[in-house]
């Protein structure tokens, strides 16, 4: 889990900037690969929806996928990392356990009488700021105990997280740690070597202080005060 990332000094491994996410320039040069992956994935979904793998389904799926790609273009989400099967298994296993724990936690809170959960909103700055990492981390932390994503600041790589049943600052620090640990697990599973190196930099916000960067909390204008 805590193994050092391989010291990789080769092509495509520029010195990771101290602050910013690794530039996706290398990945940008491969738009065709991304489109092919999307095409194959959508054709596979089409076949699964029909329930049969026939040549007709495959051709129809490819046609529909091509039409979707042409007529509904989305901003490119490039995958610049690599899959690591062992870390992926760790991610999956921990995710399933945490999903069960989270469900039991929420279920217990729901059926408990006379308990009014106190909650909080914290801002957590992630270390790897690619779109893919932000989105996947946000998805994952909504399904692990106690945290729920409510807002994403894409430019600064900040997730605004709602914490259920927070009784004190230590609960908030624990939630912040949990988000960063989830991110680390994800990057170890699918991140690029440069992103892995970013994990070794200390977390941008001091985990001990819940209000560590008060300027970052309250991301949006909430309209007139009540």
């Amino acid at each position: 889990m805590t193994g050092e990332p391989p010291a990789r000094t080769g092509p495509g491994g520029p010195a990771a900037g101290a602050d910013a996410a690794p530039p996706p320039a290398r990945a940008r040069t491969r738009p065709w690969r991304d489109r092919l992956v999307a095409l194959a994935w959508m054709a596979l979904i089409w076949c699964l929806l029909w329930g049969r793998f026939t040549w007709g389904n495959l051709v129809a799926g490819l046609l529909v996928a091509a039409a979707v790609l042409v007529f509904f273009p989305l901003p490119p989400v490039t995958f610049g990392g690599r899959l690591r099967p062992r870390a992926l298994l760790v991610l999956l296993g921990r995710f399933l356990t945490e999903l069960v724990v989270a469900s039991a936690h929420v279920a217990w809170l729901a059926v408990r009488f006379g308990h009014r959960p106190r909650d909080a909103i914290i801002a957590v700055r992630l270390r790897v700021r690619t779109d893919l990492n932000l989105a996947l981390t946000a998805e994952l932390i909504s399904l692990v105990p106690g945290t729920l994503i409510i807002e994403v600041d894409r430019d600064r790589g900040v997730l605004y997280v709602h914490v259920l049943d927070a009784r004190g600052p230590e609960d908030l620090a624990a939630s912040r740690r949990r988000v960063l640990v989830t991110e680390a697990r994800l990057v170890r599973a699918i991140g690029s070597p440069a992103e892995l190196r970013l994990l070794d930099t200390p977390a941008p916000a001091d985990p001990g202080r819940p209000g560590g960067f008060a300027d970052a909390v309250r991301p949006v204008d909430r309209g007139p005060e009540k």
Binding site: L49, V100, S103, D119, L148, I149, I150, E151, A214, P224
Partner: protein, 108 residues
């Protein structure tokens, strides 16, 4: 007992468990005080409940094409439930419907 019977019983257990979790998710949505708390109930127990129900159905049906469809449903459930909860939570947050005394670590 044959393997088929074992799978049937395991599937039945999954179905009951998934149903109970979905029920608890509903109770949570009803009983939690704020929108954001309710979204917790609508994501975690609900997603696990659906996954268990799907596992139960898969164990009962045991045909490749059905299992393909079930896997697809599971993937999309996992991908969309947090997004839906986030959209609702964000709307509540932006329109100021997050109760201040409860969200007490906000802007501390």
């Amino acid at each position: 007992m044959t393997w088929g019977a074992v799978a049937d019983w395991a599937g039945a257990a999954c179905l009951v468990l998934g149903g109970l979790l979905s029920l608890v998710a509903g109770i949570g949505v009803l009983r939690f005080p704020t929108v954001l708390d309710r979204m917790h109930a609508a994501t975690k127990p609900q997603v696990l409940g659906v996954l268990l129900l799907l596992a139960g159905v898969a164990l009962r049906l045991r045909t490749p094409s059905d299992i393909g469809m079930i896997v697809l449903v599971a993937i999309f459930q996992l991908a969309t439930a947090p997004v839906a909860a986030q959209m609702i939570g964000r709307a509540a947050y932006r329109s100021g419907r997050v109760e201040r005394p409860l969200a007490d670590a906000d802007q501390r």
